[in-house]
Subunit: 432 residues, 2 copies
């Protein structure tokens, strides 16, 4: 059976999972693929720590370039992360005629165009299945399974840390800071959690999904990103009373030749499959014009699930190489780049949840409903809550709106803020 050599750059948690999985399931893979995948070399600056997996003596080196240029290695797996040496190594590998597997979402979101161009120029494969959704084969599904569909919407819960925090906030009625602290203590959140909780990690993944769905590189700076840091427990509670859970959603939507893309804390109806995605699990719901709603669910991170997808990618390239042909290079940067316009933040429309702390006196409600009406925002539910002890003389009022543009809702809220009926910044959340 033909052998294909693999070189691994970055021997961290996921790297160790890939080494373990490749060795453990080598036989079943070779039966399925008809080609024998052999790990030949690993590069990491740390060549001594015990990662809990055995590697043959001499396999581990600190010299990444020697792995990239090893003539017995056809596939380079980049699991270093970041956007500095990983970028250098990936480009070097592609330009040396090696195919590449990476899980590096930040690199692809920021430098995807350059990397896909290099793969295409050199006629080699670049696979990145584990960059979005960890163990969930969402990238493969968009590239292949739904290839015959126009993708109308994608809604994803793509960050396990945020989903863990939101699940605990809802279940325990706990405050964000408290749950974040617990998540950090339990190892579910980084000491510096900004990448996760401020939504940037989700935005990187949204860029990759949108680029795949619409065939051009969506610039990261055109994605409106809002995290969960400022989410208050009271809104989680009110949402629940309305029959919703709050999730940090990446939302991608096509409307004719225009695309909306954003990351926002969003109310999801309890009846929606995405509302059942709890704890560290991730999921993406994709609506294709033919397939209708489809959903993909699993572990969005972690050693073994991420390794599962990396190994699936390696297997595909190995099968391609055993026939001598790369297949994928044109997947992201096709000829579509002039076809779609990305809507700016103000143009994006959504249903909204609005909470206002309203002066408890006659006429307040009228002022608010007039402001909404004036800006064309139509209300589909409203409820006035008990007075909050923290704000004597004010009552929380919650509105759920029909679909409106962000410009319209913010104009209405600005008008309400200018009146003297509320005493705090309005809380504005999306509703799926």
């Amino acid at each position: 059976m033909k052998q294909i050599g693999v070189g691994l750059l970055g021997f961290g948690t996921v790297g160790a999972g890939v080494v373990d999985g490749l060795c453990r399931n080598r036989e079943v893979m070779s039966q399925r693929l008809g080609v024998d995948v052999v790990l030949r070399k690993i590069a990491d600056l740390d060549t001594t720590s015990d990662r809990g997996v055995k590697v043959a003596p001499g396999m581990l080196t600190s010299d990444a370039m020697s792995v990239i240029h090893d003539p017995e290695i056809q596939i380079i797996v980049e699991l270093i992360g970041g956007t500095t040496v990983s970028r250098t190594f990936i480009l070097e590998a592609l330009n040396s005629g090696k195919s590449v597997v990476t899980a590096n979402k930040k690199l692809l979101a920021e430098y995807g165009q350059e990397i896909f161009d290099a793969a295409e120029k050199n006629r080699v494969d670049i696979y990145f299945g584990a960059s979005v959704g960890g163990g969930i084969p969402i990238i493969r599904v968009l590239r292949e399974g739904l290839a015959g569909n126009e993708i109308e919407t994608i809604h994803g819960i793509l960050n396990g840390t945020c989903n863990y925090i939101l699940t605990r906030m809802e279940n325990e009625g706990a405050a964000f800071d408290e749950v974040l602290k617990a998540a950090q203590d339990a190892g579910y959140a980084e000491a510096n959690p900004s990448l996760d909780i401020d939504g940037f990690d989700t935005a990187h993944k949204a860029v990759i999904l949108a680029s795949l769905a619409y065939g051009f590189h969506v610039p990261l700076n055109e994605v409106r990103v809002e995290g969960i840091r400022n989410l208050e427990g009271i809104d989680v509670k009110y949402a629940k009373e309305f029959g919703y859970r709050i999730k940090l959603l990446a939302a991608i939507r096509r409307d004719g030749d225009e695309i909306e893309i954003g990351v926002h804390p969003t109310l999801v109806s309890m009846n929606h499959m995405l509302a059942s995605v709890n704890d560290v699990f991730n999921a993406a719901m994709v609506h294709g014009d033919l397939s209708g709603d489809t959903l993909y669910y699993g572990r969005g991170a972690g050693r073994a699930p991420t390794a599962s997808t990396v190994i699936g990618d390696i297997g595909d390239i190995a099968r391609n190489l055993s026939t001598g042909i790369p297949r994928y290079s044109r997947a992201i940067n096709t000829v579509n780049s002039t076809k779609f316009r990305i809507r700016n933040a103000d143009e994006i429309s959504s249903k909204f949840y609005v909470r206002l702390m309203v002066r408890d006196r006659a006429g307040s409600l009228g002022i608010m409903t007039n402001a909404f009406g004036k800006h064309g925002v139509s209300i589909r539910a409203a409820t006035q809550k008990e007075t909050d002890e923290e704000f004597p003389g004010y009552v929380p009022v919650v509105f759920l709106t029909h679909r409106a543009t962000h410009a319209a809702i913010t104009a209405a809220l600005a008008e309400i803020t200018r009146s003297d009926v509320i005493n705090a910044e309005p809380v504005l959340l999306r509703v799926l």
Copy 2:
């Protein structure tokens, strides 16, 4: 751009969806795939009915063989169904060097070995993504995305008619017969519903999934199949009180070198993602040794969703053909056939739900618990319900057991039946 010709056999509902989808999304597909997929001919015995899609004059013929042997056609799509002419046509196509796409689960479940052997012998592709799960790319995921995993379990809701009936039985507290009638009137169930409600359709799909997961053709007659025809509303109600929904599940499980496979109405905890799969939707949860739990959800039938997957398969083959290489023939019939033993029905273990109509007198409970204990069946919950008016002097008692073999639970129930404490056949359901 290179053109690949497609010939369609069977111009029914799904066939018309494929024609529509191929025409509508031809441009986006060619951008994604780098090859132009062109529908050249359609064969159907009925060459006159209006299917609501336009086809060029002369494209439609009643002569399937002329389509199969058309030199400008490289891919044959079989959407006739059944196991007679469809088998002849598929074998003829494969033996003529044409690659084949089919959605025919019954044919693959019964004649899969012959068909896959023919594909391998002729070195052509056979794709069957739409044979399981309609618009859900579950076949692709098992073949590719999870290729690096040992598959430990698969649990699937694979028949939309059954799931629609079960959802309505639960929501409306209605009886099976009543809901079946309504489903037939609404077109969600066939006039002769046996294939669906007696579980055979689900069994066909289970055979295909198990064969893919374990690399050998699992014989259909080794699958224990139980449908939902005898399911009583009272058990749906009791299940709900315990926090479960009843779903018709295909269950596939590997235990070392042995495989369990069966189709049964099964209690699924409300907290489990599969419990949220309602109405005609389908889903499969796959547990891989690396990936952990992953779930795939969508429409399991219908014109456009099924066409979506058929077109995805066509796209893959077209891409393969544009490079000159078939990739898949060895996917189902690999070298594993002696490795796994399929357990017989008695050996299969599960958690169980048991309902007994018990004589309302002292000592009854003791007789039952002794019988369970004697056969090693451990009880994890039990509840005695109010007396049922239909059975004066008897009370319904429900037990939930820990995992036990089917042999053990049936031996215990036989012993209870032989005593005079119950007045009707015990009801035995699985618990996931």
